[in-house]
């Protein structure tokens, strides 16, 4: 019987329709299900009464069985490593092959932040390249791609013909391999490539480029690849806005620009907040774009000028595990601060 009911509910339109799948019903006061057992109502034991509490409470230990596979994996590969990494970041002379270390210290953070020397030498890649590069990427690409995505979505939302087709075209960069497209961008920006040809320049963007020149194709690539997700979210937000607001604006003869900034953007603020938070987190963790574009942490072998925080973590993971852990904790704290800051600001600005 339940299966029949399920089949009749399977059609998507019926999904949300309130329909008593179980007509004999559920009595909320006594918390019981009363079920017609026999079609012949005259029979004495035509009804069977079952208490829901009895049904539900039996699940207790079985529920843990259902949860067990996921729970075990989450504990081994998500919860334990999180705690372990925090510990490692404070360990002195940690060796991952043996697990040996000599007490707890703050020096890992001191070393990567260029405050204390390691074996008499200052480690400088983290403060010189990784942190500034990551912050440049975050503060250039997030506002830029959010703004472009917002304008494209508003444009897409206002047109009638080919809307679905163009939407699909703008989504294409999402379904690609970050490494593969990074390599395509490195060909586009090659010294003999199409970009230099079109703009009649002879700039060095990729191989052997200076740090600032290398930043340009990197940021363009990151903006390009982060557009589709933003457009998808913005479009679904735009399509949810009540048309009445625009009718009212039309009657008041408000200009397009005013409509955009006074109606669309405020009504989209939940989506904009979501996008800004997720893309901040994503940009702080940028890594594959650098690999795809430069095939290494710098613009040529031996160079580390394009390193990001996450790149630093991966480079030091097996050689200086404690440094990598300290860098990961640093990244975590930075992301946490920025996310909390944005949520705090949003309390004043976001209209729900």
């Amino acid at each position: 019987m339940a299966e029949n009911a399920a089949k009749s509910l399977a059609a998507p339109n019926d999904f949300f329709v309130e329909r008593p799948a179980y007509q004999e019903g559920y009595d909320e006061k006594s918390n019981t299900v009363i079920r017609l057992v026999s079609p012949n109502k005259k029979k004495a034991k035509a009804y069977q009464v079952t208490n829901i509490e009895d049904v539900a409470s039996k699940n207790n230990w079985k529920a843990w069985l259902y949860l067990a596979p996921a729970l075990i994996m989450v504990i081994i590969f998500l919860v334990y490593p999180l705690i372990n990494t925090i510990f490692i970041s404070f360990m002195n002379d940690y060796d991952y092959t043996t697990g040996a270390f000599h007490g707890f210290t703050l020096s890992n953070f001191g070393v990567i932040l260029h405050l204390t020397p390691y074996n008499g030498v200052y480690e400088e890649f983290f403060t010189r390249y990784a942190i500034p590069n990551t912050f440049i990427i975050v503060f250039l690409t997030v506002p830029l791609s959010t703004l472009i995505a917002l304008l494209i979505s508003v444009g897409l939302n206002s047109i009638k013909w080919f809307q679905k087709f163009l939407q699909t075209v703008f989504f294409l960069p999402y379904v690609t391999n970050a490494i593969a497209v990074g390599m395509v961008f490195s060909v586009l920006f090659d010294q003999n490539g199409i970009i230099n040809y079109l703009f009649h320049t002879d700039a060095v963007w990729i191989y052997g480029a200076t740090r600032w020149m290398g930043m340009i194709p990197l940021c363009i690539y990151i903006v390009w690849s982060s557009l589709p997700f933003k457009i998808l979210i913005f479009l679904s937000g735009l399509q949810g806005i009540d048309k009445q607001y625009y009718e009212a604006a039309r009657i008041d003869a408000a200009s397009h620009w005013k409509v955009l900034w006074r109606i669309t953007v405020p009504l989209m603020s939940p989506q904009i907040l979501y996008i800004i938070i997720t893309s901040f987190i994503g940009a702080f963790k940028e890594y594959t774009a650098v690999v795809g574009l430069f095939n290494g942490p710098g613009t040529m072998p031996g160079d580390y000028s394009m390193e990001t925080i996450v790149y630093y973590i991966y480079i030091n993971l097996s050689t200086h595990t404690a440094w990598a852990a300290a860098a990961a904790v640093f990244l975590f704290v930075i992301i946490l601060i920025f996310t909390l800051l944005q949520l705090w600001i949003s309390k004043k600005r976001v209209h729900y």
């Binding site: 949860l67 444009g155 390599m183 795809g292």
Partner: protein, 320 residues
């Protein structure tokens, strides 16, 4: 004509009446016409701008394809051409032989299959427990699960590397199966997909569950015969996104495998030299042919499952 007269107003017939509203000298007709013209102009402008942006967005794909069909001389010559003067299909033949595409493809498919299957099983079971079953500490465990989503994965990667190493799956003695285990096992659970499926399961009316219970159906058969079929679209989205995630994964396989032969398609692509044997320099035609081979399967998947992918991404918002 039997019209009443009011006061001294002259007798007028309705056909003699014209209503004329002026706004700064423009009549309704001119305003309408101007609005219509303005509308057409702005629509055309909008299409031009959007199509130009769309062309910019897909230009890298176009360039990838035509470069993959060029000779290396044509790629690096000063005058760039927008279409290959000699179509070099042999670039693909060369790449399929030199770049071990089939090896990487096999590795990727094996890893993707098992991690997707594992993820689906753990996700379905956990989502069922969280959405339907009652047990002590359910909300606390779920809160812990959700918390792990907010933590950057790099925090976990470091310790997971050590964990997998302690299982003996990493090292110079590594076999192919150990490499597979190292690439699959840490990824057979995804908290986000559990969350996603739980939301989906919660939409199934509770009466169905109660009815099944009263009918004497076990939780197990209710889950597989009612819940899973109802949540099929979400499960398809999860499976496709998970597969795409494996196809695009680069960092972890690079860390835990000892050599290129054990790695996945992205590692193979970035790790291959694509060097021309004669000149000893990178052949861009070969390189782009490799990227086309990696990109085309994703596009095929997108064409076939566009709805599921876009829906899943809209809800998920994370790659892989």
């Amino acid at each position: 004509m039997n019209t009443k007269h009011y006061g001294n107003f002259p007798k007028v017939q309705s056909k003699d009446l014209t209503l004329s509203i002026n706004e700064s000298g423009r009549t309704v007709e001119t305003i309408r016409r101007q609005e219509k013209v303005g509308h057409i102009v702005s629509t055309v402008l909008m299409y031009v701008v959007i199509c130009a942006l769309a062309l910019l967005v897909i230009f890298p794909f176009y360039w990838m394809i035509i470069t993959s069909l060029k000779t290396n001389e044509e790629v690096i010559q000063t005058n760039q051409t927008f279409f290959p003067s000699i179509v070099m299909w042999t670039n693909y033949v060369y790449v399929l032989q030199a770049f071990k595409f089939m090896t990487y493809l096999r590795n990727t498919v094996v890893v993707a299959f098992f991690s997707t299957a594992g993820t689906l099983i753990t996700t379905i079971l956990a989502a069922f427990a969280f959405s339907r079953l009652e047990f002590k500490g359910r909300d606390a465990v779920f809160a812990v699960f959700l918390m792990t989503m907010m933590i950057p994965g790099e925090m976990m990667v470091i310790s997971n590397y050590i964990t997998v190493a302690s299982f003996g799956w990493i090292g110079t003695e590594q076999t192919l199966n150990q490499a597979y285990l190292a690439m699959i096992v840490p990824f057979v659970v995804s908290v986000f997909y559990i969350y996603l499926l739980r939301q989906n399961f919660k939409q199934v009316p509770n009466e169905l569950y109660l009815a099944a219970k009263v009918d004497g159906k076990s939780d197990w058969s209710f889950l597989w015969k009612v819940m899973v079929p109802l949540a099929a679209p979400t499960l398809i989205s999860i499976a496709i996104l998970k597969f795409m995630g494996t196809w695009n994964s680069y960092v972890w396989p690079n860390l835990v495998t000892k050599g290129n032969d054990y790695r996945l398609i992205s590692n193979g692509l970035r790790g291959s030299a694509f060097v021309d044997a004669e000149t000893g320099r990178v052949n861009y035609g070969y390189q782009m042919a490799g990227t086309v081979l990696v990109t085309v399967p994703l596009f095929l998947l997108f064409v076939l499952f566009r709805k599921y992918i876009m829906h899943g991404v809209g809800r998920a918002g994370i790659k892989g």
